[in-house]
Amino acid sequence: MAINKHHTPMLDQLESGPWPSFISGIKRLRDEHPEERINKMTNDLLGQLEHSYETRKGYWKGGTVSVFQYGGGIIPRFSEVGHAFPESKEFHTLRVQPPAGNHYSTDMLRQMADSWEKYGSGLVTFHGQTGNIMFIGTDTEQTQHFFDEINDYGWDLGGAGPCVRTAMSCVGAARCEMSCTNEQKAHRLLVNNFTDDVHRPALPYKFKFKVSGCGNDCQNAVERADFAVIGTWRDDMNVNQDEFKAYVGRKGRQHVIDNIITRCPTNALSLNDDDSLEVNNKDCVRCMHCLNVVPKALHPGDDRGVTILIGGKRTLKIGDLMGTVVVPFKKLDTEEDWEEIVELAEEIIDFWAENALEHERCGEMIERIGLVNFLEGVGVEVDPNMVNNPRESSYIRMDGWDEEAVKWFDRQAEAS
C-alpha cells in the first residue's frame, strides 16, 4: 500500500557526500522494507525530524515505560507533535547490555535483527555513549514483546535513570598486547553483581563502571566512570633489547630521542650508546607512551594488576570531574582478589547511596565532603598516590597528627 511520504528537503541534503548517510538508511526502511508498519513508522519519524531541522527544536518528551518487573532500561519517547506524525508518536529506545568487549557473531546479530524487525522501527545503534546497544523506536506494548523475545536468548536490559548503568570494557586481552588484566572479567563481575541496581533505579543518580586494560584508557574510564579500573603493572617493564635496537637502526637515534626519550613524562628513559634502552622503572608512571611507540619491543611487566579511580563524570552539576586514585594497585589474580574488588564497589555504592544528595554523582559527593571523609567512609587508608601534591593551605586542624603518623608507620611495617 502506498504511503503518503513526507517532504524532507532539509534531510535530503544529508544524502549527498561520501560518508554513509543515516537518512538514506531510514529512507530504505520507509521505501523498501516489506513490513508496512516499518514503512509508516520511519516515514513519520522522518517527518518529525524534518520538522526539527526546520524549527531547530526537539519534539520528544520522556515519560515512564518499563518492562514487567524492571524499573529502568527503556528510554521512553513520546512525540509532542504526534498528531502530525502518529505512526511514530511513541518511539522508545531499549538499552540492551552488549557482551563485554562488544564482540558479536553474525548469527546473533541476525537473530536480534529478526526480532527487532517484528517489533521495532528497524533502527539500531552499536552502541550509545553509555555503551548500550540502542534499539531505537518502538511503542509501549511492543517494548515488552521485544524484550521478552531477546531476553529468552540471552540479552538483558541496561540501566537508565538513577541506577548502576551498563558498563564498558576495552578489547583488552582478546586482542591487545598492552592488556594488563582480564578486562571482560572485571567488567562482568562488577556490573553483574549489581543487576538489581541496574534494573531497579533507586540510587541518588547514575553509577558507571568502565574498565581499560592499560593507561591508554580506550574506554575513557578516568574521565567518565564513577568506578574506573585501569590495568597496570608494578615490576619492571619488559624490554626486548634486540627489537629496540632494530627500531633505532631503522628510525635513527634522533627520531628515538625526539619521540621516545624526551617524551617520557618522568624522564625515566635513556638511550644507551649501543642503541639499547635503559628504563628507570622506579620513575616510570606507566603512562604507556614509549610502549605505544615501539609495541614490538616494549611491554608491560609481569606483575600486573589494576589502579582504581573513583568519581569521574560529565558537566552536570558542578562541572566535569576526573576520577581520583583510590586504590593505586590491586592484584586481580586469585578468586579472593576478585571478591575484594566487588566488595570495594559494594562499599562505595552503599556509602554513596547513604550520603549523596539527590542527583549527586559519587565524584560530586567526594568534592563536597572531601576525599578523606570518603576514604574513611569506605574503609580505605590514605596514600600519597592519591594526590598530585600534599596540601598547600595551612588552614587545617591537625591535633591528631601523632596518631596518624603512627598509623602510617604501622602500615609500612605491616607491608614490608
Binding site: L11, Q13, L14, S16, G17, W19, P20, S21, R28, Y53, G58, W60, F68, R77, F91, P98, P99, A100, N102, H103, S105, T106, M108, L109, E117, V124, T125, Q129, I136, W155, D156, L157, M168, A173, A174, R175, C176, N182, H187, R188, N192, G215, D217, N220, R224, I230, D258, N259, C264, P265, C287, M288, P295, H299, R314, T315, L316, K317, I318, E358
Partner: protein, 356 residues
Amino acid sequence: MADMRDPIETGCPDPFQYMHPMMRRNFGLWAYHEDPRPGVLLHVAKNGDKLWTIKAGTQRILDLFTLRTLCQIADDYSDGFIRFTIRSNPEFFVTEESRVEPLIEKLEEAGFIVGGTKNSVTTLSHTQGWLHCDIPGTDASGVVKSMMDELIDEFKVSEMPNRVHITTSCCQINCGGQGDIAINVQHTKPPKINHDLVANVCERPTVVARCPVAAIRPAMVNGKPSLEVDEKKCICCGACFPPCPPMQINDAEHTKLAIWVGGNHSNARGKPTFQKLVAAGIPNNPPRWPEATAIVKRILAEYKAGARDWERVGEWIERIGWPRFFELVELPFTKYHIDNWRGARKSLNASAHIRF
C-alpha cells in the same frame, strides 16, 4: 498481569561465545601489533598466530538493511564475526593476509569507509540529538554526517601527528564527553517558562536544587504555583530543563554551538585533560552546520601543520601557547575564555612565563 513473563536477569553476556576463535585462542597471549596500512591492524600472538583487523566507518544509526549488509560481509569475508569500537566503528577479522584486500574492496563497494586507525581523524562520537533525545539543542547524526563528509580524507589516511577524537554533544551536560575537538551546544538565553504547565509537570524543589548557580526560586505566577529565574544569575546551562520541560531552554536562534579543544582521556605522556573553550556563538545551522565545520577544519589544518609526532591537540597547544593558537586559527580571545567557575584560579597564569 498473571500471564506476564518474568525477566531472566542475566546482565552483561559472556563475550567468549561471540568472539572470533583466534581471539578466543590467544586471549591474553598477544605479542605485538603493526599498522600495515590505514584502517588495518595486524596483531601477532606469542605462538605466531596473525590476526588482521579491518576497521570501517558507518552511519552509526543503522537501518536493518545496513546491519544485514555488515553481517553478510562478515560472513563472506571475515568468518562471521564483528566487533564494534567505542566510536561505533565495526571491525572485521581475517587470519590470512590475502583476505585483507578483498574485504576492503567489498566494504568500500558497499559504501563503508575503511580507515579510522592510528593517527587518523576517527569517526566523531555522537549523542542522540533531535532524532531521539528529549532535551537536544541540535541534531547529532546530522552534524556527524556533515563533518565526516568533509573530514573523510583524514579518516582514510593516518597522517595526523597523533590520533584525533572529535565529539559532539547536543546539550551542555556534554554526554559526548571529552575530545581533542568537541562541538557542543551552548545556550545563550535563560529558559522561557511556560507558567501554566509548571505546577502540573515539575517537582519544584527538585528543579530548584538542580540549578548550579541557585538562580531558581518558587513563585506564584498568575495565581499559580510556578518557578522564577533570576536572569542575571542564570548561566543558561539548561540543567533545569530535563526535570522541568516547561522551562524551555532550546531556542531556534539563541541556542548556539561552541567548540572546545584539548580533551584527552589517555594517560600517555601527560595526565588526562579536559577540553577548553576556543570558539562560541557559532550558528546552529542545519542541515549541514557549515560554520562549525569550517572552524574544525581550520584547527585541524594548523594542528597537522604545526604539531610534532605524538602530540595530541592539547599537547600541541600547551607547547606553542594559547596566544599563538588563537593567532593561528584566527579566532578571537574574549572575556568568556577566562574561567570563573570552581577552581578557576588553577587556569590562570601565575608566572612570568610569556611567549614572544
